[in-house]
């Protein structure tokens, strides 16, 4: 009974901020207040009509797609090398690959800003893509690494002894068996990149900024529920991505396997 209450309390604590944002997004008045005074979709109309949000959404899609497309193969190779490459100082390499998880975003953002300025790339989305690759790589490496550990090397030997060339072994045995980890890694990459804010704030401008940065800029300048409406849309999209992935890819299997 007490345990159940504790779980419920924890759930409420975790979801209340989200619920408040969604409730406020339907508020008919132009104030960010809770509880809302009625029901209205005018802020959603505002989101769609605001050109900067459209441009930022497009930037988000581009940057996330590019970052995921680069980070997935790179992270997969890194995971394979870490598990099987017979590297000296493997734990050091692993720590370095996972380090973006513990480096403060402000520090990383500043680093990328200085680098980008030095290279004259401040107006380019490529810096954003590079930063996002670095930030999502730990998640990709971790997810794929779990799958690599679960992969029985005997299967690859069997394939080789049956006449498969190293490339065919990789394509017909290794890759298909890494699929759960690859999908989990891709999912993490997409979600983390879509939600990335701190580092992106340092290295984007009005033209290249991604959605979370555009939302922040908006909040700094205006305080109406438009931002709550956009946040709600954002929550729904992220939730859908994870839900679909869970439904079709069986996430529990990816994470709960030893």
């Amino acid at each position: 009974m007490i345990a159940r209450l504790a779980v419920v309390a924890l759930l409420v604590f975790m979801t209340v901020p989200t619920v408040v944002v969604i409730a406020v997004s339907f508020n008919p008045t132009a104030i960010l207040s809770f509880p809302p005074a009625g029901l209205s979709l005018r802020w959603y109309a505002n989101v769609v009509a605001y050109p900067q949000f459209r441009r930022a959404a497009m930037n988000s899609l581009l940057v996330t797609a590019a970052a995921a497309a680069l980070a997935l193969p790179a992270g997969t190779l890194a995971a394979l090398a870490l598990e099987r490459g017979g590297l000296r100082g493997r734990s050091v390499w692993a720590a370095m690959l996972l380090s973006p998880l513990v480096v403060p975003g402000v520090a990383a953002g500043l680093g990328f800003l200085i680098l980008a300025a030095g290279l004259g790339l401040l107006r380019s989305r490529s810096v954003l893509v590079a930063a996002h690759v670095a930030l999502v790589l730990p998640f990709v490496v971790r997810s794929v690494w779990v799958s690599v550990r679960n992969l029985d090397p005997v299967l690859e030997r069997a394939a080789a002894s049956l006449g498969a060339t190293p490339w065919r072994v990789f394509r017909l045995v290794t890759l298909p068996l890494l699929r759960p980890g690859l999908f989990a890694g891709l999912l993490f990459a997409v979600v983390v990149s879509l939600n990335e804010f701190v580092v992106s704030l340092f290295i984007s401008n009005r033209v290249t900024e991604i959605l979370p940065v555009a939302m922040f800029t908006y909040v700094v300048n205006y305080t109406d529920p438009t931002i709550a409406a956009l946040s709600s849309l954002f929550i729904v999209v992220t939730f859908l991505v994870v839900w679909l992935a869970d439904r079709y890819l069986n996430l529990a299997r990816v994470f709960l396997r030893p």
Binding site: A158, S161, L162, P176
Partner: protein, 157 residues
Amino acid sequence: MTPTVVELRGCTRDYGPVRAVDALDLAVHEGEFLALLGPSGCGKTTTLNLIAGFVPPTAGRILIDGADVTGRPPHLRGLGVVFQSYALFPHLSVRENVAFGLRERRLSAAEIERRVGDALELVRLDRAGRQLSRRTIGNRPRPDLVLADGEERAQPE
């Protein structure tokens, strides 16, 4: 005496400071049935890995049908290996498992179809399109025996 099929000459294999196989000389003749017996850790698996080409010898030479294959990768050695853990591909159906080696050795589709059918009929695995994971544990060894068998017959006589 029948011709030598597999021959090891002074084969040694070290894993770091551990010597798993020490200057082994071994000749297996055609038609011979040879069993390696010994306590665990005595080098049986390492010897088989050397013959299959999964690990290179630290010293010594390996010959198959009289040809030196010491540096040859496993996929070019033309051997069939049955692994202790069966080594079935869990992402493939029974039929695809049996066909794997035949496909990699580039037999024609019709020939693959025929041999897979024959092999499965031999062990009475009907409707073998199913995924392996759905087979019961008791049935597990069977597809693998077919695998090694279908493979053996894929070899040129």
